[in-house]
Point group: C2
Chain length 113, copies 2
Amino acid sequence: MRNENKPVYLKLRDIIAAAILDGDFSEGAMLPSVRAFAAQQGANPLTVAKAYQLFQDDGMVQVKRGVGLFVARGAVAKLRKSEKQNFLKNVWPDVKAQMDRAGIRPSELLEDC
Amino acid sequence: MRNENKPVYLKLRDIIAAAILDGDFSEGAMLPSVRAFAAQQGANPLTVAKAYQLFQDDGMVQVKRGVGLFVARGAVAKLRKSEKQNFLKNVWPDVKAQMDRAGIRPSELLEDC
DNA sequence: ATAACTGAATGAGTGCCATAATACAGTAGG
DNA sequence: CCTACTGTATTATGGCACTCATTCAGTTAT
């Protein structure tokens, strides 16, 4: 697998990012507290905090100390753009090389286009 | 990046796999010795041995102790099949999910089809 | 025999990850 | 005020994966 070999704090980051992109948390909405999310995911609160920290560094999550963490304005578009750039720059080249080596044609993967 | 965060022995594995799939080493041919390949790649011989070990475990590389490592019969087809199955089962689902979340359409990535 | 090459095992060192146990700091509500 | 909730900092610890230096073991050619 690919998600299994990833550190917990990065897996948590992905879960949060997916939730934000899926609209589970609108902009301005409060995210689950560190302790609550830790309990829900069966993880350590500090590990959750480390995951949240990644979003704070990018300004996608605003912290109101003593209150909670909130999805920043414009975070959804910013996150989607960031995810896209990362995919095109870091993920896709390797994926394409892997496909070429394995002899996989794109038509095997897609129904449309 | 993605290859940068990967352990050296897995990067070496990929290099070897690509070389075999590209036909740089035909079936029955001797692979570079552990020390030679290590020197060539600027890696430690034991790390190279660990990479080679992965192929031995799958029976794609035959070892003649004291002589060298050789590409096993049927290894190319076996390797290509293995790479394909791994891609379809472990890589592609995550990649597709990532594309959907980031709003990337397949047509942005492919010229043909 | 001996030199020069092969792969392989043992053990140690290193760094990241995850956790635990506290303690601290800020905010809201009764 | 006080309680209960927020996020955060500190320190220590255990575990695990990766890497490597050393050494051993097998083969071949001279």
